[in-house]
Amino acid sequence: VAPVRPNAVPLTVLGGYLGAGKTTVVNSLLRRAGGRRLGILVNDFGEVSVDAQILRASSDGVVELAGGCVCCDLSLGMGPALAQLVSLDPRPDQVLVEVSGVGEPAAVAAWARTPGFRPDGVVVVVPLDRIRALARDRWVADLVASQIDQADLLVCTRGDLVGPAEREAVTGWLQERSPAPQVDAPNGEVPLEVIFGIGPPRGADAPEERADSGAGAESGGDAATGDGLPGRLPPVHGVEASSFVRGSTWTSDEATDVPALASRFGALPGLLRAKGFVRPAAGRSEGPAQRGGAVLVQAVGRRVECTTWEPEADVAAPAASVVTVLTTPDVDDAALAAALPGWRRVDAR
């Protein structure tokens, strides 16, 4: 459990072989960003549909888009590009790095340890119609396998090009290869929370901005904040309604064994995202529990990160633990209840 890094910008890596549909995913996110300031790093602007919406292009390769997103090319490498993003005012809410089709996403993900950023998952785009052929391909089989191995979360594209039987065979095959959850993205439309995480844009406390983040905002978010979280904490939010994801918010009055919770989340098939504040059980050593703090639990697919949150003088510690989870539709309440023993679901069904 590492200390929380205030204002660190979450950095998500988007990988996948050439033609998997990464750029389609990026373009779809740009269209739907809805006020979130997404910072996108790409090898080149070539196929990103920024042309029509450029507000301002700076000389150093940063392009500002309508709606607050920025796009930056990687011609100078990751270091300079991240330095540019972190110097923007305001800074992006989220950074998404599109890795080249022949790149290894894990190598790029290491850059999320750059000061000012925090790792927020490796998302690998998998074209359902081609992935098994690619995994047998004479030249790129090893590359495609390692891209899949490095994924915290798999985004399945081009599902419309395969029949139901083939789809079942491919997703089953993927499941055997990788414990990462699979989320469908027809036409590249990944559910927004999968990339942006659960919650409002950073620093956006205005209710109208919160309402932007999805149809379920009232149910999850307000119930959660009403459940004892101090106002200075980011409110736990509801999730965008979608037939490809299912969101729910859970609470517990008991102190929680955080490492055990993290390992159950890590092993929960179909967990796409989780975010919440957990009141930890008192440990043997001096921990946040003794100081009245909480643990911020955040998951992207099978990657779970726990950071400590220390209360400030004027902010009360949370009385109860609250976690919002986003899963694939096949994960039911029973499975979640098993991962969250003693917790109860609080959002409207």
Binding site: Y17, L18, G19, D44, F45, G46, E47, G101, V102, G103, E104, D137, W139, V140, D142, L143, S146
Partner: protein, 336 residues
Amino acid sequence: VFEAFGALAHRAGCTTVADLGGTFLSDPSVLEALASTTARPDFPVRLSMFHLAAQGPHTAEKEVALVDGLVDRSTEKLRFGHVKLILDGSVQGFTARLQPPGYLGDRPNGMWVTAPERLRETFLAFHEAGRLVHAHCNGDEATELFLDVVAHALSRSPRWDHRHTVTHSQLSTPAQYRRMAALGVGANIFANHTYFWGDQHRDITVGPDRAARMNAAATALAAGVTISLHSDEPVTPIGPLPSMANAVERRTASGAVLGPDEAITAAQALEAVTLGSARLLKMDHEIGSIEGGKLADFAVLDDDPLTVPPDRIRHLSVVATVLGGRVLPNEHGAMP
């Protein structure tokens, strides 16, 4: 930059230099600088500027059009029209793509710099446009893929005397050299690697057996492949004489001889850095040998590289070069 590079190449005894790294040929200011610098009578070398393809956002079709547009800007000392593709990384960086058994110590295979699909598409477009393509292949799996791509393109669009070339060709196998000969593909061999990284290749990257057949100039010539030797400046220092010496001696930095069976004679090495290079640049009707009707490009040395002991070759002095009949003395070279 071009001026300094020209001076450096001249001191090393070059009269024509190929730059295979140009992603910047779409920049008008670069083209302007190239044109004005090379137009000066005292600019001491000819430049063959390759277009580095499939690295940016452009489609193959657009890149073909870009190169077509460049060709009209060619002059006697500034040539455009050839194309470079990069398949893999480097052996010493463990990023070259190797066939089994791969790197020592169960290291993972290297990386593709260009995705095979994009490579195929780009190569075919330039092949059909009649362009000459040099392809960076350090590992033998990269060579294998490139030869497959060439074979596929030739079966679709037969072309005679295309002179497509495997550049670096460091781990190309005897079977691959036979295939190159059959396909009409040349090899621009990175002989300097034997000296600079030979010890490391033997001990760390690929082991003694494959290190001994790296940069297999003798196998290439025996198979009937046209070869040249290169420095990859700034990766290793530019200099046809040291490159010749490395192919003849095959000595590593520690002094060991690596794969003596792949050593070639001084005469073969001299032909590789002159007429061999000219053939792989499609300039052998103009340069590469001293013949009536050619451009009179050559270097004047302080001794005969074909008769001095092999360990003297790299120490020979360039007294002057002659470019198109114009004598360009080398103030750094010693008189005999």
